[in-house]
């Protein structure tokens, strides 16, 4: 195993990690921001909401949360793909048993 092989194996792991592992938390934070409305610091330094989010921002926020929810469900099915293949014979993602 030479250094090129090693880097060749690390890069896809890193990219997938960045896409899901950094991307999804970032997307979640973006969803939070969409639902945050208008906020203001109080005199004692707390950040409080003074006005709710607009209807549009709210809709975008919920769509983002829905996307994340779906990805998590897919993640669980991914974990369970071999189990599903064994029990039902259905090869989810076409990758089970590998």
């Amino acid at each position: 195993m030479n250094i090129v092989d090693i880097i060749g194996k690390i890069i896809p792991v890193l990219l997938a990690g960045l896409f899901f592992g950094a991307g999804l938390p970032a997307l979640y934070a973006l969803g939070m921001r969409m639902l945050a409305g208008t906020t203001e610091y109080t005199a004692d330094g707390r950040l409080v909401e003074i006005e709710g989010p607009s209807a549009l921002a709210k809709a975008v926020g919920y769509i983002i949360f829905a996307i994340i929810f779906v990805v998590i469900i897919i993640g669980i099915l991914w974990i369970a793909k071999d189990f599903i293949l064994h029990i039902t014979g259905f090869n989810l993602f076409g990758l089970a048993g590998k």
């Binding site: 792991v13 997938a16 899901f20 938390p25 934070a29 939070m32 950040l47 998590i72 369970a80 189990f83």
Partner: protein
């Protein structure tokens, strides 16, 4: 003839029972050693109460263990070559002493509060026992390099990069969100990501013990090599890892949750999100990364990605030392116990005395380390105490490094170790 046959069967059965019990004990240590990987951040940020966190993780590990269908029926495939182990008794002794090496290393690192990979401990123990029995030819060094060493070096860096980027974005994007909404949203985020890590852990790690027990059953001619894993093996392994997780390795939880970085809830979510994503995708790309190395790297990254957060590199340094010596240390114990077991049998002509003595040595050392841990107990009540503050007990010793902790372990002094 009848009585001779009978005697052999009884001996085989005794050894089989000892090996199966030892395998389950390893599974149990695997559970409590790795609770921290999923739950340390949620416990540190108080997203979950300590007991709730370990209970949730235990249930998900249990479920995960049942989800693992494709159990590898070989142990350490590609790392050790056990084809030349001779008769089945020889194979059993290698697997058994390998497990003993792994358990002793797991319990010692737990005592010192150091997260170290249970898979590495198992591989190390097996490599050591194999070398003792078959010489260096029994070890597939190219496999050790590509399947153990390279992933171990790469994992913390990959995880740290991912978690740094994630943390940076999360803080940026969520900055204007009110404190109340931050608290509740990040709490959900942390519980969801930590749950995914727990589930993935159960799926990956319980399998290893199932494979070990299956191998032992085959060696004892109790099962056909092509048969399915029996249900009782699956159930026993699932329960052992879940029980271990529920007991919770509080010493390691404390190190990962409080020692490495002062974690706030956005960092906790980013760290576990990174861990979950990397653990779930890496094996697909042919590089199975250890949960422990990934989780530690992610927590470091969550400290790097937050402006002004402190990463305690001294604590990290101790972990890296533990990681570096995991393979040789558990290997040395595996080899030493193999020699003890093997030569006791050779000298006394017994077929089981060696195994029994090694088993008693294992029980003795584990009891001793457990009793030692009671001098400075870490439990749900003090797991979140300020890092570096005097320990809960009256000794008031500062949390010390691996060197002094080891020294205190040997000297039996009361200096605190985490």
């Amino acid at each position: 003839m009848w009585s001779l046959h009978n005697r052999c069967v009884t001996t085989e059965l005794i050894i089989l029972v000892i090996v199966v019990l030892t395998a389950l004990a390893f599974d149990f240590t695997n559970g409590f050693h790795d609770t921290a990987n999923a739950m340390a951040t949620s416990i540190a940020t108080k997203a979950l109460k300590p007991k709730t966190a370990v209970a949730l993780s235990a249930i998900l590990n249990l479920v995960g263990a049942f989800l693992s269908i494709e159990v590898a029926k070989t142990v350490g495939k590609g790392i050790v070559n056990l084809d030349n182990a001779g008769d089945d008794t020889g194979l059993m002794l290698i697997v058994f002493t390998g497990l003993v090496g792994a358990i002793l290393w797991n319990v010692l690192t737990w005592l010192l509060g150091l997260p170290s990979s249970s898979s590495h401990a198992l591989f190390g123990g097996l490599i050591g026992a194999t070398m003792a029995s078959l010489g260096t030819d029994g070890v597939l060094w190219a496999g050790v390099l590509s399947k153990v060493v390279v992933p171990a070096v790469a994992a913390p860096f990959i995880a740290a990069v991912v978690a740094t980027v994630g943390t940076w974005f999360v803080y940026r994007l969520a900055q204007p969100v009110s404190d109340d909404k931050k608290r509740s949203n990040f709490r959900y985020g942390q519980v969801a990501t930590a749950s995914l890590v727990s589930l993935a852990h159960g799926t990956n790690d319980a399998q290893k013990t199932m494979g070990v027990i299956f191998l032992a059953l085959v060696a004892a001619n109790e099962i056909d090599p092509n048969a399915d894993i029996p249900f009782w093996v699956r159930l026993a392994c699932a329960l052992a890892i879940a029980l271990g997780t529920y007991i919770g390795g509080w010493r390691i939880i404390r190190t990962l949750g409080k020692g490495l970085v002062e974690i706030d809830s956005p960092q906790g979510m980013a760290a576990e999100g990174a861990s979950a994503a990397i653990i779930l995708t890496s094996s697909h790309f042919g590089m199975a990364l250890s949960t422990t190395h990934v989780a530690t790297g992610s927590i470091i990254g969550s400290g790097l990605g937050r402006k002004g957060a402190e990463v305690r590199w001294g604590v990290m340094g101790r972990m890296v030392i533990a990681w570096l010596i995991t393979l040789p240390a558990s290997g040395a114990v595996g080899a030493a116990t193999w020699f003890v077991g093997h030569y006791l049998n050779v000298w006394t002509g017994s077929e089981w005395l060696g195994e029994l003595v090694v088993f008693l040595v294992l029980v003795g050392f584990c009891t001793w380390m457990f009793l030692h841990s009671r001098k400075e107990p870490i439990d749900p009540s003090n797991v979140n105490d300020e890092w570096g503050a005097p320990a809960a007990s009256s000794t008031g010793g500062a949390y010390s490094g691996i060197a002094s902790a080891t020294a205190s372990a040997t000297a039996g002094s009361k200096k605190a170790e985490v």
